[in-house]
């Protein structure tokens, strides 16, 4: 069964610092990759997604992620974080086999951005 690992459980940054959150998955076949964000008191929102094509994908609010197939990774990056980026970030994978369509989530990374 596929699994998703997020190595950083809690990250604290100052405003304007650069961000990179790690995500690795365990499935060797075709995958769809997602980052979701959950702001305090709000629901899961899609930040960005990778289906195919250019492995560097850009999402909302200045976030981007790079799919590196050889490393089974899909790390999330932002060059300069803002206080409003304080949230929990979830990496998720769909494996495209046999019509299965469930999202497998990582454990999440709680990001706190300090002023």
């Amino acid at each position: 069964a596929q699994s998703v690992s997020q190595h950083n459980h809690h990250v604290i940054l100052s405003e304007a610092a650069s961000l990179e959150l790690g995500c690795n998955y365990s499935y060797g076949g075709t995958v769809n990759l997602f980052w979701y964000v959950q702001y305090p008191g709000q629901h899961l929102q899609l930040l960005l997604k990778y289906f195919s094509g250019d492995p560097l994908v850009k999402g909302i609010k200045g976030f981007e992620a790079e799919f590196i197939k050889s490393k089974f990774s899909f790390n999330l990056r932002k060059p300069s974080v803002q206080w409003s980026d304080t949230a929990e970030y979830f990496c998720a994978v769909i494996t495209l086999t046999g019509g299965g369509n469930k999202l497998t989530f990582g454990t999440g990374t709680q990001l706190k951005v300090e002023l």
């Binding site: 075709t30 769809n32 899609l46 195919s52 769909i94 495209l96 019509g99 369509n101 999202l103 989530f105």
Partner: protein, 118 residues
């Protein structure tokens, strides 16, 4: 922008009682899902539903759980006899299509129902 909605936002129930969690998916979506997140743990898949039948379910989704689309708009999750360990945040999601090779589809999530079983 269309959103998935869920009711109630919070539910407290006694162990052994039945609960029904309600969801209204995005109107033109065809695939519906339930996930749950136990406090401090990862979001876990429960079940997916398409064309009025379950298309996939996890080991968590045992005989105590059922899903239904009683009309053209609602999608419900019923827990027949709740247990303490069912306490969690339950998320509904919907997508326009299912993922397929060479393409993909995004699942949009509702705000969740926080269920507390006492």
């Amino acid at each position: 922008e269309p959103e998935v909605t869920q009711t109630p936002s919070h539910q407290v129930t006694q162990m052994g009682q039945e609960v029904i969690l309600r969801c209204v998916p995005i109107s033109n979506h065809l695939y519906f899902y339930w996930y749950r997140q136990i406090l401090g743990q990862k979001v876990e898949f429960l079940v997916s539903f398409y064309n009025n039948e379950i298309s996939e379910k996890s080991e968590i989704f045992d005989d105590q759980f059922s899903v239904e689309r009683p009309d053209g708009s609602n999608f419900t999750l019923k827990i027949r006899s709740t247990k303490l360990e069912d306490s969690a945040m339950y998320f509904c999601a919907s997508s326009e299509e299912a993922p397929r090779r060479g393409a993909g589809e995004t699942q949009y999530f509702g705000p969740g129902t926080r269920l507390l079983v006492l």
